[in-house]
Point group: C2
Chain length 397, copies 2
């Protein structure tokens, strides 16, 4: 029996474990100091009441033979009509018309972004931004694909545009971005769609943070002309509605999207019906409540809470003239390390002098060196306290 040799090419996932270990060591050595983590990538606000009520009602249905639900409906790859209908309505509010069989329900964006690679040849070349969410890279290393990087940096506001000299087959775009929080305008996405169409490439569009967007920035790649012929969009309730511990996402594959004459949606339906059995009925009913009128009102409260935290962090950085992206359209703030420091140097000094933990940007790729990621997911109280301490420390530099 031979193992998949590509797994041996994976780098150790040192970033978050090193952050955790350094933090634990510091706490053990200084039990009297209160360390605040602005490195959290997980939500902390509770689920909206309308979601919890819907899940409890669904659980009750499962207790009665007359209303019990087994496997989900075949015709829509296990997605219930209530949920698919509410996602269609969510898109329709932004002028994007989707058919029911263009929406596939899953247990989350990470699963879909990873599993959809099953459909594509290992010979394809992949283009990811740098800095990058490590999952895009590791999942392609596991399959042995060649990976190219599009540089994201201060010069392009961390929003790289396509290089006409470079050919790619599979293109990852995450907007608003993790880790940088930068969000594309319509023109930027149009440039990527035009490039993908020209190269016969496919865009995997990660919209996990779309609920944080403000103004008229595009929430969906399908707001861009031509995208129905070159893009798949993956989204999630994790950050939209606090579902990191509930697990529900969805992938949109236009019926018009084909490669080599084969419908990508039909390939995905075949992959999913073979390797997956759908999402809990209880979870689906909770998710269906998110995009109701009352649901949208309730989840906006949580997002507004996180945004106030982001503003707190932004005000502190502005006060010290520090460059950053994100915060406005995203729960992530991507700041330049002060005084020309490197990422891990700032990490260590910030922990020591302000007892605040963030994530070193260099862990996300070479263009992340000298940058630092903070998140808006802590409590308001801790965010304010952490910012006051950070400001006091930065003043001394």
């Amino acid at each position: 029996m031979k193992i998949n040799q590509n797994f041996l090419n994976l780098q150790g996932s040192y970033l978050f474990s090193t952050v955790g270990a350094k933090c634990a060591t510091y706490r053990a050595e200084h039990p009297d100091r209160e360390v605040i983590k602005l490195s959290i990538g997980d939500v902390t606000r509770p689920l909206a009441p309308i979601v919890v009520d819907a899940m409890k009602r669904a659980a009750d249905e499962m207790a009665d033979a007359a209303t019990f639900k087994g496997y989900g409906p075949d015709a829509t790859c296990y997605g219930y009509e209530q949920l698919i209908g509410s996602i269609r309505a969510h898109y329709a509010r932004r002028g994007v018309v989707l058919a029911s069989d263009e929406i596939f329900i899953s247990d989350g964006a990470k699963s879909d972004l990873s599993n959809i690679l099953d459909l594509f040849s290992a010979d394809n070349t992949v283009l990811v931004p740098d800095p990058v969410y490590p999952v895009y890279v590791d999942t392609n290393i596991m399959a042995g694909r060649r990976i190219l990087y599009a540089d994201a940096n201060r010069e392009n506001d961390f929003l790289p545009l396509p290089d006409p000299e470079v050919h790619a087959d599979i293109i990852y775009i995450c907007s608003p971005n993790n880790p940088t929080g930068a969000a594309y305008q319509r023109e930027g996405l149009k440039a990527w769609v035009d490039y993908a169409l020209r190269e016969d490439a496919l865009i995997l569009y990660d919209a996990a943070y779309e609920a944080f967007l403000e103004g008229d920035l595009p929430h969906s790649i399908f707001e861009i002309e031509g995208a129905r012929d070159c893009a798949v969009e993956v989204c999630s309730y994790s950050k939209t509605a606090g579902f990191t511990g509930v697990r529900c996402g969805y992938t949109v594959i236009p019926s018009t999207l084909k490669r080599e004459g084969v419908s990508i949606g039909k390939l995905w339906a075949r992959r999913q019906s073979t390797k997956f059995n759908g999402v809990s009925y209880i979870t689906q009913m909770g998710a269906a409540a998110v995009f109701t009128e009352e649901g949208e009102r309730q989840i906006r409260e949580n997002i507004a809470y996180y945004k106030r935290n982001a503003q707190t962090i932004g005000r502190m950085l502005d006060a010290h003239g520090i460059y950053y992206t994100g915060g406005k359209h995203s729960p992530y703030i991507w700041m330049q390390c002060p005084a020309g420091m490197k990422s891990w140097e700032f990490f260590d000094l910030l922990l020591e002098n302000a007892n605040v933990v963030g994530t070193p940007g260099s862990g996300f790729g070479k263009n992340g060196e000298g940058f630092f990621r903070l998140t808006a997911f802590a409590t308001a109280e801790n965010t304010e306290k952490a910012c006051a301490r950070m400001g006091d420390y930065i003043k001394t530099l």
Copy 2:
């Protein structure tokens, strides 16, 4: 962009869609007749009250910031201690001692059986029984692996043993079997373990129906000496506790299991933490209730209900001297078609003459020709009615 050409080698999944279409046509042409489906592969009994209560309590926890849960615990690949502890206790009751980090929680056996193939080279040769659960075949076709078949037939009671002349790298064993309901004794499993150790092969053991076993038949491959060095076991709450619509399963990978010096459990942890984000906290709390003392009592009631249906079917077949396997240790009854009929011939005549629907055995592989699968998942009332009609029809042959 090139698609994965292996997908083009998949056969259409005609079996269940043809069964469904023929059934729908018959109903449309004979609206006055009551058609009963004994082809159902899905559970129909409601969830145990203790499971529903646990899920509702967990939903309430998610509504409060103080008890809210985001991503599951890292250390155990997102599985909560309550659930992992209850699975360890379940195994311990059969004398199988597992460490916490040998148990991986997922959204179901189908996902795990499919996704674990990521860890293995496409060059491996796969051995599946025939007749076979189609997922074992299709997932390997998607990866381009060579597939060999072990003949299961009346001569070996549908329980094939290894052929020492044949080399295989990955071996699928499902006991009690889907579709035949046949279950291995200890000796049969020992023969497979010895063969796997000799061939440096890996057994993927599908224990999804273990809760239906009676007497002292092995419930787990890890009851067999040597299995910790050659087997992975995949199990599910779907048929054990009616979780087909709730989605929870678990995979056991012994820490001793290595190939090419690499720990299979560590590879799986890397695959899962990269491509998966765990199972709903609410679902996990429901599943944790299953293997409590009261939970075991409640789920046994549902299993006893299905077993009474299986006995009803078995008595009818016995009365007419028809050969079958399954029923005793399984919700599936695998019967020989009467009067030397072929599978689809019997399907058509049974639908026409008894208004009963089953699944043609030929859809599961060449050795299924001339056989027919019935399931015990209908209501007791419908099962009795269907058996009376089947008996009346078979008498006329």
